[in-house]
Symmetry: C4
Subunit: 227 residues, 4 copies
């Protein structure tokens, strides 16, 4: 994988990605991220998008080298505590941080890291939103959207802008999924669907990723309802 | 735009529109409106009608000259604080108020002001309710409703009253949208759909506007389900 | 209207209907009923069944003469306080009670009283549940249900029991609606649909009426989904 | 019924089934289970899966002899207190426990016990989830699922694993229902649908049973939506 220029441009009020790693890998920063990830996971759980123990969320901790705080595997996403996280590297492998009890990262952490590297995302959301999986089933070649106001919520235009939410086949191999994502990646589109699986969406920070996720889900629900 | 006689008649328990502007433009009044707009926005967010940072709500602050308190742009509508507002004039341009930190008004503030002027609304709601956009997609010429009890909730009759919820094409130009609204405006109908976008609804005050919005959405959901 | 034997048999844990009227008409009893009606209304509002200011709930206060506590007209059903009620007689007309500020009863109070008299209900629920109105639109001659476990939740059998949820045409005249209800009334079936309007359901007390309402709505949603 | 080897393998963090019965039958343990069952029931009620007084949940208290704590019959599942339970044996008959006021167990307690015995479940969930009953209506011979990520949430594979959620005809006779369940039981599949009735799902403990229930319901919703 070559160097990528972040496709999501930093907005003035978004946190500046920390370049001072590995010193940025403090327990305080990890647990602060964990608190944000827990609150956000509970929100998405309330929407029914993280049934069982499904889905996972991440925040970029340091950009160079790439380190992410990601929700731990196998836990109820409506009941996370700030320490229910793992820190991973660009391949999704766990990275020890002093003062943070090591938990098993989600298997999908590698794909989160890939999205962060390729798309320049500051936070990545992966949820099993039903409408996304229905849309992926209906349009395996990608979901075409155009001339809908809510496209502005994902950074696109409300008029005359042909948007495709890519759909990639599912796999248990995160490198394979990452390669498929990179093949279809359009820096203008901050989301893709894993067919028969769920949705990935991202933003400059976690609140932005929330907004993108909510808007993509709305757009997919609308596409399904008006097909 | 000519002078308009408010089409929504004031009900006895509705707040009397303040005629004593510009003296009515106090920070206290603006922040009190902001608190009401924040609570109402959170309510609509809970319905899934304000995904991302979409939608905006306003209250008329003074009628002559027309000034509105409108939710600020780009914020999560489930997490507003009372000061997350802007004060705008009849064209949607920001108006400074001493003691109120100036925030960027929503681009749609101009359309809110137009609705307030043309329809005499005391409060205007704009939400991205999915059923409204689906109905607008299905019936681009307007949604015909008749002989449904819930029509009483928008000030119409439950029997023998042909109601049309107008649908106008979307635009990013608020003057254009306002002109389209005025072309289809029927003083008896306190709502319209912007196609591929969302719903506008209004009332004498914010609680009334809430009730109208809820009833219109119910009617549109019913129309879609029984089409 | 002739004398009616209550069709809903009192269960051991249901409150015994007060026969000692008019002495039973105390402000304390009315406000206690009002608190229960407010909580129950808020619950149904949370389901989206009382949009705008729609719907109303009642409890029988005294049986002989028949007096009901009914939610007041024109208020948001998610925000009622215990005093947001009126006391009405068997025709739905307001009855003054010392210590209770007189509010306007819902126009539909007369139908509540009729249901209490005819069906022997201790509490009556009227909500604008969307599935009920959709079912009434689809089956104007009545909704046939059979061989569904949830029928037990409305006092019927899970097997070999042909249940019809009656559907009557809408009217603004409560006597007319009451006559239509009586025509189709089957003492075994504690609910009916007013076409293009909403659902009436009842029970021995308010909690029972809640359970019947929830089960009828579920059954109608199921009927619509599997039609 | 012959001896069964539990089909659900104990996970490291699941509570070890208590073999020291009948000494394990203490009021403390029963009420602790009751508190967990009450919280879980309230959660499912919030999803609309326990309308009226429908559904019931259970936890295995002791394995040999088999004793379960099961939610009591006829109560609102959103308002249970820890003591709103009964203790039953392998046939669903009440078992007295000192310090626990005897409540009537759900009639379905016998089926819970059968599932615990046959499948080795530590906790059993029975809910009237609408999507499950719709799926049972559509596919009376069983719901076929394959190649969906969420299958991992019920212990199956995301790829190349043909999963059938069995559907059995409804009955009021728990022995008959239990026999039907055993006929279709596949130890790899922790759920079945009772046609025209509801869903049974289970896990090693109550939290695991919650996750399985949520994933099965999601899968059935997806199957219905994409059929």
């Amino acid at each position: 994988m070559t160097q990528h220029t972040p496709a999501v441009s930093a907005t003035p009020d978004a946190p500046t990605p920390d370049k001072a790693a590995p010193d940025g890998l403090t327990a305080d920063r990890v647990l602060a991220a964990g608190a944000r990830l827990a609150a956000e996971s509970a929100r998405f759980t309330g929407f029914g998008w993280m049934r069982g123990t499904s889905g996972n969320l991440s925040e970029v901790l340091t950009r160079d080298p790439l380190r992410l705080t990601v929700t731990a595997s196998g836990l109820d996403k409506g009941e996370l505590s700030p320490s229910d996280v793992a820190v991973v590297d660009s391949g999704g492998a766990p990275v020890p941080v002093e003062g943070v009890a090591p938990l098993r990262p989600s298997a999908e952490a590698g794909l989160h890291a890939r999205v962060a590297a390729v798309a320049g995302a500051g936070a990545v959301v992966h949820v099993h939103a039903l409408n996304a999986v229905i849309a992926g089933h209906r349009w395996p070649g990608g979901v075409h959207l155009r001339d809908i106001e809510t496209l502005k919520g994902i950074g696109r235009e409300a008029h005359d802008d042909e948007v495709i939410i890519p759909v990639i086949p599912n796999s248990q191999d995160m490198t394979e999924l990452g390669d498929r994502f990179e093949e279809v990646f359009d820096p203008r589109t901050p989301a893709f669907i894993v067919a028969s699986h769920g949705l990935y969406a991202w933003g400059t920070d976690l609140v932005h990723a929330r907004h993108v996720t909510e808007c993509v889900e709305w757009l997919l629900a609308y596409a399904v309802a008006t097909a």
